[in-house]
C-alpha cells in the first residue's frame, strides 16, 4: 500500500535537493551524499528492519546534525542559513527512510514546502520557478495518493492512475488560480513588516550601481531582475552597444573606488570631450566615425545618472519633463529631478559614434589616471604587473593584461563558494571575484605598468527583449569595466571579466533553447519584480480586455476566424461528448483495418465486408473484437437492475 506513495515522497525529496542545489549557496560536493542517500532510499528503507542498521543510520543522522549545528553556531549568519537548508533536506532524507506505521508522511509535505519557501529568498531565478511548478505538481499527486493510501481499502493500478490524473488536474487549477490571485489581490508592495530588519535575512548586496565600489563587501549578491532601461536601435539592423556607462571611478584607496571628480583634475572637461547644450534642448559633443541612433527608456532614476555608451555624441531628451540634465566631465550625464517630475520612464535618444573624439590630455590629468594607493596595494599586484609587463609591450600591454585576467581568474559572486575574501586573494588566484574585482585588478595592473585608465560602472546590454524588441537592462546587469586612455587622448573600453562566466548567470546562447529560456526568464522576472505599477497595468489590461476583443472582432477576418473557431470547438465538444470509449475503439480498429464505415452500414455489415476484403488476420481479429465490444456496450443488454431499495438524496 505504502509503496504507492513512496515514489512520490522520493520525488518531493529530490526536488527539495534541487531547490537547495539551485540556490548555489551549498557546494555541490556537500549535497552529493544527500542526493545519493535519497536516491538509495528504496534500498536503505529495507535495511531499517534490522536494529543495527537503524541504530547506525540514526547515529549518522545525529552526527551530521551535530556537525551542522556546530558549524552554524561557529560561523556567520549566512552559513547558519546554509546549514539550515542542508539540515532541512537531511531531515527529508531521514523521514523518507523512516516512513512507516508510526512515521506519517505529513512532515515530508510540510518540510518540503518550507524548503520551497526558504530557497525562494536565495535564488528567485527561473530554475527556482520551474522547480516550483514541478514541486506543486508532485506535491498535489503525493497528497492525493496519500489520501488513498491512508484510507486503506483496495488499491489497484487503475485507482492510482485515476488519482494521479485527478491530482494533476487539481494542481494545474491551483497554479492557475494562484497566478490569477497573485495579480488580482491588492497588497502593499512597500510594506516593511513588523520586525523589519531584525528578522529579515541578511541584506543582500543588490547588484546595481553605487556611487563607490567597495571590494570588501562580502554580502551575497541578489541579482535583481527589475528592469532599469529598455534600449532600441532606430535602425533595427544596428546592434545595441554592449557597455552603457553611468559613473566613472578614477581614485582607488586600496579597498574602494571613488568617482572621478573634476576638482581633482583642475578642469571640468579635462579628460573627455565636453557636452555642449544646444538651443533645442539637446546636447552634442564631437566624435569620430559613423553614427547610429538609439532610443532609451530609463525606468530606474535612482542612479541619478543616464546610461550612455562611450561613443555618445548627441543626446536628445524626448520625454524628460521635470528633469534637469547635466553633461559631466566623465562624458556621462547626471540628472536632477524636480519634486513634481511625472511618473513614467525618462526617454531619450542617443546618437553613438564609433569612438569618442580625442582630447588633449594634460600631464597632470594623465598622472591622475595612473595614480596608485601607495600603502594598501596588494603585494601580488606588483609581482603580477611585472610578470605581465615583461610579456607584452607598448599599446598591446592593456589588451594582453585584460586577456590574461580573463583566462586565469575565476568569476564568482559574493556568497558563492570560493569567493575571494580580498583583492589580494583574487590577484593571487586563490579566490574568485566578480566584475568589480576584474575591473579593479585590471586597472591596478595597468596603472602599475603606467597605462592611464579608470574604472567605469554601468550596465551590460545583452538581454534581447522578446516582447518589446531591442535589449533590456535589468538591475542584475550592473557591471564594471575599465576605460584605457590612448596616447592620442582617446578613451577605449576594456573589459577583463570573462564574458562566458558573466553571461552564464544572465543568459544562454542564441539557440532556440536559449531564446526560450530567455523568454521564460523574462516572464518570470515580471513575477519576481511585480510591483504596484505593474499590477495596475495588468488590471487595466484585464479591464480593457473585453473592449480590445470586441474591437478585434469588428475586423471581418478576425470575426470570421473567431466564429469558425467557436463552431469548431462546439462541434469538437459535441463529438467528444458523444464519443464513448467503445465507439472510439471501434473507429480506431476500422481505421487500422484500412476501412471506413459507409453510409447506412452497420458494424456487423462492416465486419462482413472486412472478412471478404483482404484485411490481415491480426487486424481482422482486432476489428472483430472491437465490434463485439462495441455491440455489447452500445446495443447489448443493460445490466439487470437488482432492484435495490432506493433512497432519495
Amino acid at each position: 500500500m505504502r509503496d504507492r506513495l513512496l515514489p512520490w515522497l522520493l520525488a518531493l525529496t529530490l526536488i527539495d535537493l534541487a531547490f537547495v542545489q539551485a540556490t548555489g549557496i551549498v557546494g555541490g560536493q556537500d549535497l552529493l551524499p544527500l542526493w545519493l542517500l535519497a536516491a538509495a532510499s528504496p534500498w536503505l528503507r529495507r535495511l531499517q528492519r534490522w536494529p543495527l542498521c537503524r541504530l547506525a543510520w540514526n547515529a549518522g543522522v545525529l552526527l551530521v546534525f551535530t556537525l551542522l549545528v556546530r558549524h552554524a553556531t561557529t560561523t556567520g549568519l549566512l552559513h547558519m542559513l546554509e546549514d539550515g537548508l542542508v539540515l532541512a533536506v537531511l531531515c527529508q532524507v531521514h523521514l523518507l527512510n523512516n516512513i512507516g506505521e508510526r512515521q506519517r508522511p505529513d512532515l515530508v509535505f510540510f518540510n518540503s514546502l518550507l524548503v520551497c519557501f526558504v530557497t525562494s529568498f536565495f535564488a528567485p531565478d527561473l530554475p527556482w520557478s520551474l522547480l516550483f511548478v514541478l514541486h506543486a505538481l508532485v506535491l498535489a499527486v503525493a497528497l492525493g495518493v496519500n489520501v488513498l493510501v491512508r484510507r486503506g481499502g483496495v488499491l489497484d493500478d487503475a485507482a492510482v492512475r485515476r488519482t494521479i490524473a485527478s491530482s494533476l488536474r487539481h494542481a494545474v487549477a491551483v497554479l492557475v488560480a494562484t497566478a490569477a490571485l497573485f495579480v488580482l489581490l491588492p497588497r502593499d508592495f512597500h510594506r516593511q513588516g513588523w520586525l523589519g530588519d531584525a528578522l529579515a535575512a541578511p541584506p543582500a548586496g543588490a547588484a546595481g550601481l553605487a556611487d563607490r565600489i567597495r571590494l570588501d563587501d562580502e554580502r551575497p549578491a541578489r541579482l535583481g531582475v527589475e528592469v532599469v532601461a529598455r534600449i532600441a536601435a532606430a535602425d533595427h539592423r544596428r546592434e545595441v552597444p554592449s557597455h552603457w556607462r553611468a559613473i566613472v571611478f578614477s581614485v582607488f584607496d586600496g579597498a574602494t573606488w571613488y568617482p572621478q571628480d573634476p576638482s581633482d583634475l583642475g578642469s571640468r572637461f579635462a579628460s573627455d570631450p565636453a557636452w555642449e547644450p544646444q538651443r533645442d534642448g539637446h546636447w552634442r559633443r564631437p566624435a569620430d566615425g559613423a553614427m547610429a541612433a538609439f532610443q532609451v527608456e530609463l525606468y530606474d532614476r535612482r542612479g541619478d545618472r543616464l546610461p550612455v555608451p562611450l561613443g555618445a555624441a548627441v543626446l536628445r531628451p524626448l520625454q524628460s519633463a521635470g528633469t534637469l540634465l547635466d553633461g559631466k566631465s566623465t562624458g556621462g550625464f547626471t540628472l536632477v529631478q524636480s519634486e513634481d517630475a511625472p511618473a513614467g520612464p525618462l526617454v531619450y535618444r542617443v546618437d553613438v559614434a564609433a569612438r569618442p573624439a580625442a582630447v588633449p590630455i594634460a600631464a597632470s590629468t594623465r598622472r591622475h589616471f595612473v595614480a596608485l594607493p601607495e600603502r594598501s596595494l596588494p603585494a601580488a599586484a606588483r609581482a603580477l604587473a611585472q610578470q605581465l609587463g615583461e610579456a607584452a609591450d607598448g599599446p598591446a600591454v592593456a589588451a594582453a593584461t585584460a586577456d590574461w585576467l580573463r583566462r586565469h581568474r575565476r568569476y564568482a559572486l559574493p556568497g558563492e563558494p570560493g569567493f575571494a575574501r580580498n583583492l589580494g586573494e583574487f590577484l593571487l588566484g586563490t579566490g574568485a571575484g566578480h566584475c568589480e574585482y576584474f575591473a579593479t585588478a585590471l586597472a591596478l595592473l595597468l596603472r602599475l605598468q603606467d597605462v592611464p585608465c579608470r574604472v567605469v560602472g554601468g550596465w551590460l546590454a545583452h538581454e534581447q527583449d522578446p516582447v518589446h524588441g531591442g535589449v533590456v537592462l535589468r538591475e542584475r546587469d550592473a557591471h564594471a569595466w575599465v576605460e584605457v586612455l590612448d596616447a592620442d587622448g582617446r578613451w577605449s573600453t576594456l573589459d577583463a571579466t570573462p564574458p562566458h562566466d558573466l553571461l552564464a548567470r544572465r543568459q544562454l546562447d542564441g539557440s532556440w533553447l536559449g531564446s526560450a529560456w530567455q523568454a521564460l526568464a523574462a516572464a518570470w522576472s515580471t513575477v519576481v519584480g511585480f510591483d504596484g505599477r505593474r499590477r495596475s497595468e495588468w488590471l487595466d489590461g484585464l479591464a480593457a480586455l473585453p473592449g480590445v476583443l470586441l474591437r478585434a472582432l469588428r475586423q471581418p477576418p478576425l470575426a470570421l476566424a473567431a466564429a469558425l473557431a467557436a463552431a469548431g470547438w462546439f462541434v469538437y465538444r459535441r463529438r467528444r461528448r458523444q464519443r464513448e470509449p467503445a465507439i472510439a475503439a471501434f473507429e480506431r480498429a476500422v481505421r487500422a483495418a484500412g476501412l471506413s464505415l459507409q453510409g447506412g452500414e452497420t458494424p456487423r455489415e462492416l465486419l462482413r465486408r472486412a472478412e471478404l476484403a483482404a484485411v490481415g488476420p491480426r487486424r481482422l481479429g482486432a476489428l472483430r473484437q472491437a465490434a463485439d465490444r462495441h455491440e455489447r456496450l452500445r446495443y447489448g443488454p443493460e445490466a439487470p437492475d437488482p432492484g435495490p431499495r432506493t433512497s432519495p438524496p
Binding site: 491512508r150 483496495v154 490571485l181 513588523w194
Partner: protein, 303 residues
C-alpha cells in the same frame, strides 16, 4: 453537508498561520506572497473540490442482505452520480462499526460490492447513511448524510451439524428442483414464490411461474421456547439458524416460537421475516406462555 479539518489539514493550517505571521513580520516579498497564495489556494480549491465531489452524488442505492453474526457480508452499493466520485467512505447510520471499506473511485451508476465488517446478532435500524470523503488532498473531510430508512439484520452465527458456515444467504446455490417442471404460466394469487420463473418474469415485466408437478411436503418443525437464559437462547438460536439454513436448501421447515410462526420454504433463501426474527429474538420470563403449535390442518402463511 459538514466539513472538518483532518489531522493533516490542521497541521497544514498551523504551518500556514506561522508562514503568514512570518510574512507579515518581514518586509514584502513577491515570492513569499506567491507561495502563501499557493498554499491558500491549495487548501481552498481542495475544500471546494471535496464539496463538489460529494455534491455530485444524486442517489445512493444500498442492498444490505441479512448476514450471520461474526462474518463480513457483501453489500451492494450503487451510486447515481453526475460524475465519478472519489475516496468515498460509506457508514450506515452513525456507528463506526457499520463503515464500509473506502471506495477509491465510484463511477456514476456502476454498482460496486463492499464487505460490511462482522456484526453482532441483532437488528440495527439505520436512518441515514453517511458519505465521507477526503478527496482530493486529504486536508478536509467532507461528510454528507442521505436518508436511508433500512436496517441491518444480523442473524446468529449458524451452529449445528447442517450449518452452511460463513456463507451469506444471497450466495446460495440454486436448489434442486422439486418435482417435474410442467410448463410456464402467468402468476396467480396463491402461487408459491419459489415457483416464479425469474428470468421469464424479468423479461416480460409480469410474474411468470413454473408449473411443477406436486411434490410431497414433509417439512420439519423447529420450535424455540424462549423461556431460557440469555446464553442458552443464543445457543438455541444458533442451532435454529443452522437448521433453518439447512431446511431452506432441503425440504423446508416451519419455525415456531412464542408470538411467531413462519414457514421456511424449500429451495429458496429463508424468508426475511424468519431471519429478522432470529436476529431480534429475546428471552422471555419463565411465566410466559409456551410456544403454541399450529393446528395440523392449518398451514401458516408463507412469510
Amino acid at each position: 453537508m459538514a466539513v472538518r479539518l483532518t489531522e493533516l489539514g490542521a497541521k497544514g493550517l498551523l504551518l500556514l498561520a506561522a508562514l503568514l505571521l512570518a510574512f507579515l513580520a518581514t518586509s514584502y516579498s513577491n515570492l513569499f506572497f506567491l507561495l502563501l497564495v499557493f498554499c491558500g489556494t491549495l487548501g481552498g480549491l481542495g475544500l471546494a473540490s471535496g464539496i463538489a465531489n460529494l455534491r455530485a452524488v444524486r442517489r445512493l442505492e444500498l442492498q444490505v442482505p441479512a448476514g450471520p453474526a461474526g462474518a463480513p457480508r457483501p453489500v451492494r452499493l450503487r451510486l447515481a452520480a453526475r460524475r465519478s466520485v472519489s475516496d468515498l467512505v460509506v457508514t450506515l447510520g452513525d456507528a463506526p462499526g457499520l463503515t464500509l471499506p473506502p471506495v477509491a473511485h465510484a463511477a456514476g451508476d456502476a454498482p460496486t460490492t463492499a464487505l460490511l465488517p462482522a456484526q453482532p446478532r441483532g437488528v440495527h435500524a439505520v436512518g441515514v447513511v453517511q458519505l465521507a470523503s477526503r478527496y482530493p488532498f486529504g486536508l478536509f473531510e467532507v461528510r454528507r448524510w442521505i436518508p436511508w430508512p433500512g436496517e441491518v439484520v444480523t442473524y446468529p452465527e449458524p451452529d449445528g451439524p447442517a450449518a452452511p458456515t460463513g456463507r451469506s444467504l444471497d450466495q446460495g446455490t440454486p436448489p434442486d428442483p422439486v418435482g417435474e417442471v410442467a410448463g410456464l404460466r402467468s402468476f396467480r394469487t396463491g402461487d408459491r414464490v419459489r415457483d416464479v420463473h425469474w428470468r421469464a418474469t424479468a423479461r416480460r415485466g409480469a410474474p411468470i411461474v413454473k408449473e411443477l408437478d406436486a411434490a410431497p411436503d414433509t417439512a420439519p418443525e423447529i420450535v424455540i421456547d424462549r423461556r431460557v437464559e440469555a446464553a442458552q437462547l443464543e445457543r438455541l438460536l444458533a442451532a435454529a439458524t443452522a437448521a433453518v439454513l439447512a431446511a431452506a436448501e432441503g425440504r423446508g421447515a416451519h419455525l415456531l416460537s412464542q408470538g411467531f410462526a413462519a414457514a421456511v420454504p424449500a429451495g429458496q433463501p429463508p424468508p426475511p421475516a424468519v431471519l429478522r426474527w432470529l436476529a431480534s429474538a429475546a428471552i422471555l420470563p419463565p411465566d410466559a406462555p409456551p410456544p403454541v403449535r399450529w393446528p395440523q390442518d392449518q398451514e401458516p402463511a408463507h412469510a
